[in-house]
């Protein structure tokens, strides 16, 4: 399968700290790839490196056949990469409608995509006039993902979508991510191993800023030693 995104031996520094020390990630087109690892392993930094928020000092990031490392975040995003950060990065002073409108790259994007968005997150339709500050954590997470769907992105980077959500909302979120993966390729960072295994077709494990293993998810599920060693899950 063709890779939509390739991160090759990325080395990223935050200040003086060498956070990524050789991360390699291949994201096949049209599937969900889970980026796994313990807290502080470098998963979020990998996503930020792809998006140019913390550009790599060494290594390559290739998206859709072109090298994108060193470009501005807004240029990279405009190529068709949507990002849903773990801190539910909605604009809290804007209404739900405004949060969605602002993500339009071309006029009419929202009108074209609203069936998909409100199909995945019907609650948002009811909350359309509320401000970000008036939404619950789960609703904010839905809005953050919905916003990334307004423009037709080729790749979605989703960071910890189920973090801090109630079990019933986790179910809803998983259903939504599975549904949207039919539309777009997804690179998912997920601490909840059970959720990641149910959603992703491929995996990449990072440990202390390095890629230590990658492959197809069913193979990982058979490899208990790897799961125990790098993910601490039984």
């Amino acid at each position: 399968m063709d890779n939509l995104l390739q991160v090759r031996d990325a080395h990223t520094f935050i200040g003086q700290f060498h956070i990524l020390q050789g991360v390699t990630v291949n994201v096949p087109q049209g599937a969900i790839t889970a980026l796994l690892g313990r807290n502080g392993a470098g998963k979020t930094t990998t996503l930020k490196t792809i998006l140019g928020l913390t550009p790599p000092r060494q290594g390559q990031v290739i998206f859709d056949g072109q090298e994108i490392q060193g470009r501005h975040t807004f240029d990279i995003s405009a190529l068709g990469i949507g990002f849903v950060p773990d801190y539910r990065a909605i604009f809290r002073d804007l209404t739900v409608a405004e949060n969605l409108q602002i993500a339009e790259r071309k006029q009419g994007d929202l009108a074209r995509r609203q069936e998909l968005i409100f199909g995945l997150f019907p609650d948002l339709k009811r909350l359309i006039k509320l401000r970000g500050t008036q939404l619950s954590g789960g609703q904010q997470q839905m809005l953050a993902i919905a916003r990334a769907l307004v423009a037709e992105n080729k790749l979605l980077l989703i960071d910890e979508p189920t973090e801090g959500l109630a079990p019933v909302l986790i179910e809803q979120m998983m259903k939504a991510i599975l549904q949207l993966s039919a539309e777009t390729t997804v690179l998912l960072v997920e601490q909840n191993f059970a959720v990641a295994t149910q959603l992703a077709k491929y995996y990449v494990i990072v440990e202390e800023g390095r890629t230590v293993k990658s492959g197809a998810m069913p193979d990982l599920l058979k490899d208990e030693a790897t799961i125990h060693r790098y993910l601490g899950a039984a």
Partner: protein, 349 residues
Amino acid sequence: MKILRDHAILGAVAVFLIAFPFLIALLDGQSIGAMLAGQSGNSKFYQGLLIEIFILAIFAISYDLLFGITGLLSFGHAMFFSVGAYTAGIALKSLKLPLPETLVLVVFAGVAQALLFSIVLPRVKGITFALVTLGFASVFHIVIMSHELNDWAGGDVGLQNIPKPALLDPANQRLTFYFVALALMLLVYLFYRRFVDSPTGRVCSAIRENEHRAQMLGFNTFYFKLAALIVSGITAALGGALHALYQPIVSPTSASLGYTVNALLIILIGGVGTLSGALVGAAAFRLLQFYLDKLFGESSSFILGVVYVALVLFLPYGIIGTWRAKKLEWRAAWQARWRAWSAARPRGK
């Protein structure tokens, strides 16, 4: 019709302000004819006070767009105002330009200084941007006070004897000046409302909340900040030009940090990021200054300080911001009561 529906309160305020000089003349026992002829009296005096408020409001709303909406903290905003005032003064006095050409020059000056500030936009943020803008304003302050420019800018005394166009002479045509200043303030407000509600304005609000998030959506935030700077620069410069036309002297202090702090105080009093707060804040600021000065003389500065502290303590979001927050609370409380009442009501068959 839509404008009237959306801005009903503004419309009511505009009608009141249009009628205000006539109402004061009637209350003062002055005939409308005498008032229209520009004769002295309370009406003419209050027109002057309100003109000062309108000019301050134009200056403050331009700061609100920059700081309250886009999140660019500038300590050099007074320079925008002062450049407008000096450009208008010099164009009218030394270059002997007619008013329309002068205003075109003022607009260009507003754009030019916005472009100057934008040089540092990609490199510095937050407090560093504020300090760099303060540096620009301080340099301008020193330049206009220099002896070499005495003939043009008037040195540390300021620019005096600016010839006023006959139609806008504040001594003889104060009522006309009053209506022009009022119209400009209302137009600026409506334009700003439109700007803030536009897609560009929404991105400016997004930049204030979190610039990285806006970039993640594919926006080159530099251009949006530049747009806010240019709109704000032109507006403040036009406010400055109005100041030069109204006041007998354009003082170099109009480029000082104190003038920027006045704009900041005004939007803090009115409500940061609300736009209408700049109008309300300018009125509160100038009227407090005027009446406290009248009542307490030299001690008024001390009392004014106490009043500002009290305002910030008891109205943390400013007058308009607190009013909006309370209105939301009251609406939620009424909705809860209504739901409770509806649930408790016995249902008929």
